[in-house]
């Protein structure tokens, strides 16, 4: 009986401090020092409509946009997930075949592997710099703009996520597409 009583008292104390106090403290610090990312980096247009989150991939299928990596959950950001297929699975071969067809990849101009492999959560907001350049000719044609302009945009936006530890640069797909559409955000 004493054991349960002590357990209950400690339950109340830990609940108050580790759930109430701790969550409130972390929340307050977040609002103070990182108000943008604390709310999940939501992007809104000048008129207030929400376009998406800077941190989360969204679907792009039109030729005029950069395309993100494949998503096993169709970019569902309320129920994320990966394919969970073994790398030896023929299901992956079938899926990759569709991706290859969509990009029109050929043996002479093979698709970068990161554009064929689905990400873990299906919401990877990034593609590699080379995967962005791979899409330049399609977008240039669809938008009727010079390829150089797109190459320049990629060079400006590409960054090394981990400095010296990540030699391959990446770009944020949604930010690139916002720049292409020249959308003003706030």
């Amino acid at each position: 009986m004493e054991t349960f009583l002590s357990s209950l008292r400690i339950t109340v104390a830990t609940m108050a401090i580790c759930v109430g106090g701790y969550s409130a403290a972390v929340w307050a610090v977040g609002q103070a020092i990182t108000p943008g990312t604390a709310e999940a980096s939501i992007i809104t247009k000048a008129d207030g409509t929400v376009i998406g989150s800077r941190q989360v991939a969204q679907a792009f299928t039109q030729a005029r946009y950069f395309w993100p990596r494949p998503s096993a959950v169709d970019y569902n950001s309320a129920g994320a997930g990966g394919s969970n297929k073994s790398p030896t699975s023929t299901d992956l071969t079938d899926r990759a075949n569709e991706t290859v067809a969509a990009y029109g990849a050929t043996a002479e101009n093979p698709l970068p592997a990161e554009l064929a492999a689905a990400s873990g959560a299906g919401l990877d907001p990034h593609i590699t710099e080379r995967a962005a350049r791979y899409q330049v000719s399609r977008i240039a044609e669809a938008r009727n703009i010079p390829a150089d302009q797109l190459e320049k945009l990629i060079s400006e936006r590409a960054f090394a996520a981990g400095g010296m530890f990540t030699p391959e640069k990446i770009v944020n797909v949604l930010e690139m597409n916002l720049a292409l559409d020249n959308v003003q955000t706030r």
Binding site: V19, R69, Y75, T88, P112, S119, D124, P167, L178, D181
Partner: protein, 558 residues
């Protein structure tokens, strides 16, 4: 490859260095010397919170009874919150009731410090359930492990075991809370959200609706990592860009997985007064883990087999189930440290790892001691030490001793019982589910990889790990019940038996160590211990591994 090696060395060396001062702090917090000012001031507060029963030192039986009673309360409270979440506050997205067997599984999982998740957080759980039930248990269940290690160490030092209720509060308030708070701030700075606002509906540039789930993630993920819990706020855990948004958040989270388990070894060494011995244990653990990390990174550098026949570049490793922002070696590194430590969070989908890479996390869970879960990892290593010194004593014809305590048949039986129960749960569970529709009908992959999914699930439950080959359709009543029971038994058997061993050892007269005593501070001991871990721990599972990952590799990888 150079960057991969550099990255791994940076993480491991950095964390090992940090674990030294943390271990020192933890021994101050968990085991304050009599008359020591600061930490003993807290003791008075903890006794006031806990009530009269906390003022007495406990023998091993009372310590165990208090521990089990406390865990029973944890179970009841969590189960009640999850069962009633639809009427409780902080539910902006109006999440509904949780199914009974799923509630049992989830509650067992978080009480047992496992965090196996047969649900997807952003789909099923209200913010209140996430914080007041699940995050709360992430604190106190880890604290239970730390309390047990402290008691075991005190017993081996020839002292009284202490009081469970005081120890569990020391672990919660003095160790886990400050460490989690620091990590949470670092996560905020590296882009993790922390909001009580509900999900947002966006209209994408192409005009499609996208609902973006978010929540109080930073606070949750910090204790998820430092308490070797591993249960994600979102379904896909730390692969999710809102749970692990950047390269640097991934660095923080990786370090947070192993920092306390590493510091536990130093804390153990300080309490027993044998830092050199702790150094040997630390080295053995680091070598066992390092070997798996190297193998894992090597195997994962092989391109995705399914793409080899297509016009797709073959110049990068397997990227299925991985995020680009973390860099190439982050996935296989995390896969090993999260399973070495019974954490179970993931930053890449383990189901989609190359076959032999996927075996490395399984081996980690089979061994479950380098560095193991918070507190309990070092306690598991203690079981291997008991068996190791016994075998060594038999080989050289001397009475086996550990720290001057005579290890006899009773202690070795207890240790072997704990170690063998691990294999029993995994192998028997896997066998039953592999031949019945309970398991066979829930697979996401065919052939040996399907078998691996079942084997992984039971390994994860028995190791109190919580990661999974997540393709497995495990949200069924048979899976919920079976893994729920395994998690609870596999949590408390290796906690009760080591305390019983210590109770039995410390009732004997302690021998003074002489030149004839087998040293626990040299290379011979390290070699003996490593061999014991590999032979007793890993070889038990070799036949099962042959049917799963090894068969898949041989059959399909060209």
């Amino acid at each position: 490859m150079t960057q991969a090696i550099l990255f791994v060395v940076f993480i491991l060396a950095g964390t090992a260095l940090l674990s030294w001062p943390l271990g020192r702090y933890m021994s101050w917090a968990m085991d304050p010397a009599r008359g020591q000012g600061g930490a003993n001031g807290f003791t008075a507060i903890f006794q006031a919170i806990g009530g009269s029963v906390t003022r007495r030192d406990q023998d091993w039986k009372r310590y165990v009874v208090s521990l089990l009673g406390f865990n029973l309360i944890l179970f009841v409270v969590c189960f009640a919150i999850l069962a009633l979440q639809q009427v409780l506050p902080l539910n902006p997205d109006a999440k509904g009731a949780i199914d009974g067997s799923l509630n049992f599984n989830t509650t067992a999982s978080f009480v047992a410090n496992t965090n196996l998740q047969h649900y997807s957080g952003e789909v099923v759980m209200s913010y209140f359930s996430q914080l007041a039930a699940l995050m709360w248990l992430q604190f106190v269940s880890a604290a239970v492990g730390l309390a047990v290690l402290t008691a075991v160490a005190r017993g081996l030092a020839g002292r009284k075991l202490g009081n469970f209720f005081v120890d569990v509060q020391r672990a919660t308030f003095l160790v886990l809370l400050p460490v989690a708070f620091v990590i949470a701030i670092l996560l905020l700075l590296t882009g993790v959200p922390m909001t009580f606002n509900g999900s947002v509906v966006a209209t994408t540039l192409e005009g499609v609706q996208q609902t973006i789930a978010r929540g109080p993630v930073a606070a949750f993920v910090a204790i998820k990592q430092v308490g070797t819990n591993g249960g994600g706020f979102f379904g896909p855990n730390s692969t999710h860009p809102l749970e692990n948004p950047s390269f640097w958040s991934n660095v923080v989270e990786t370090i947070a997985i192993i920092i306390i388990p590493m510091a536990c070894v130093w804390m153990f060494g300080r309490i027993i007064g044998r830092l050199k011995h702790a150094g040997v244990l630390f080295t053995v653990m680091l070598i066992l883990m390092g070997a798996r990390i190297s193998a894992s990174i090597g195997f994962e550098a092989v391109p995705t087999q399914a793409f080899t026949s297509l016009p797709i570049t073959q110049d990068v490793g397997n990227l299925e189930g991985k995020e680009l922002r973390f860099g190439a070696s982050a996935g296989p590194l995390w896969a090993v440290v999260t399973t070495s430590t019974s954490n179970g969070s993931v930053n890449a989908m383990h189901d989609s790892l190359n076959p032999l890479t996927g075996m490395m996390p399984m081996i980690g869970m089979w061994l479950n001691e380098d560095f193991g879960g918070v507190g309990v990892g070092m306690v598991n290593m203690f079981l291997y030490i008991v068996v190791g010194v016994f075998i060594a004593g038999m080989m050289i014809g001397r009475t086996p001793e550990y720290l001057g305590w005579r290890v006899e048949a009773k202690e070795v039986k207890f240790a072997m019982l704990a170690l063998l129960s691990h294999g029993f749960f995994i192998l028997v569970g896997t066998a039953v589910f592999a031949v019945t529709p309970w398991g066979a009908d829930t697979l996401n992959n065919v052939g040996p990889h399907g078998f691996s999914e079942i084997l992984y699930e039971f390994s994860s439950a028995a190791a109190n790990n919580g990661s999974g080959f997540e393709g497995l359709g495990d949200a069924t009543t048979p899976w919920n019940i079976a893994t729920g029971i395994v998690m609870l038994l596999a949590r408390f058997i290796p906690i009760i038996l080591p305390l019983a061993i210590v109770g039995s050892l410390s009732a004997k007269r302690r021998a003074t160590e002489s030149s004839g005593t087998l040293s626990v501070e040299d290379g011979t001991f390290a070699g003996m211990l490593t061999a014991t871990v590999i032979i007793v721990g890993a070889l038990t599972f070799f036949p099962a591994a042959t049917l799963g990952p090894i068969a898949e590799h041989v059959m399909f990888m060209k």
